[in-house]
Symmetry: C2
Subunit: 113 residues, 2 copies
DNA sequence: TAATAATATTTGAATACTTTTATATAATAC
DNA sequence: GTATTATATAAAAGTATTCAAATATTATTA
């Protein structure tokens, strides 16, 4: 997969409320599966499935301590994305010249109107 | 929808190769539907469907010039996201202390091992 | 007004994603 | 060794996305 597609695929994997929460937790440090069972309110298998998806996509990894699996962040794109998700914007992108009521304006290119 | 969910939903809508391409084109300026039919190689109805999805989610809007619909970017989160998508990272997030071979380490919390 | 051009909508089929339920595995404790 | 705990996997059911095909709409041109 070329880097562009890979990055877009990451977006798709990440764009889920539970998985965003998991990743936010992981930016705070190592977490084991049962930590997530507590903090997210979903079943153990479902936690495991989300973690597996994140792991098979190279976003997280784990180490083992006894019977605990300790997950941690691996993909450096994630912290930047999570921060951007929280950014506030005051204004929309400025509108190109057109009438706000009739929504009429002039196409800047070369096609037949 | 609370802002957090709204933003996550934006991510989900955006996370598609065609729609990313559409948005990249729109960061360059106004485009009409047939511009996209040329630059993306997909059918006219499909272009229209993607544009409708982006529009109903408040990401883009359009003005009218004759029978052309001229689309433009509205959501200010988009340019930042597109830029982040292109960012290069040299290294993974640093691994917490654990053996790289056996993948054994110590859970930092309070649970039974 | 009829024909054409630009775009949108609808429907359906295929596919992908998500969650639930049940079961499996592997490590520790007894 | 048996029971228990932590986690994973599999199968099935439900839900959502995607795209293609056909049709509709609207503005312009002839």
């Amino acid at each position: 997969m070329i880097p562009r597609e890979k990055r877009i695929n990451l977006l798709k994997v990440i764009a889920h409320p539970i998985r965003i929460k998991i990743l936010e937790d992981l930016t705070q440090g190592v977490r084991c599966v049962s930590d997530f069972e507590d903090s997210l309110e979903i079943s153990q298998p479902n936690v495991s499935q989300h973690l597996t998806l994140l792991r098979t996509n190279g976003i997280i990894d784990f180490f083992v301590d006894g019977r605990l699996k300790c997950y941690f962040l691996k993909e450096p794109f994630i912290p930047d994305l999570l921060q951007l998700l929280k950014k506030d914007y005051e204004e929309d992108v400025p509108t190109p010249p057109c009438c706000p009521v009739t929504k009429k304006g002039t196409y800047p290119g070369e096609r037949r109107r």
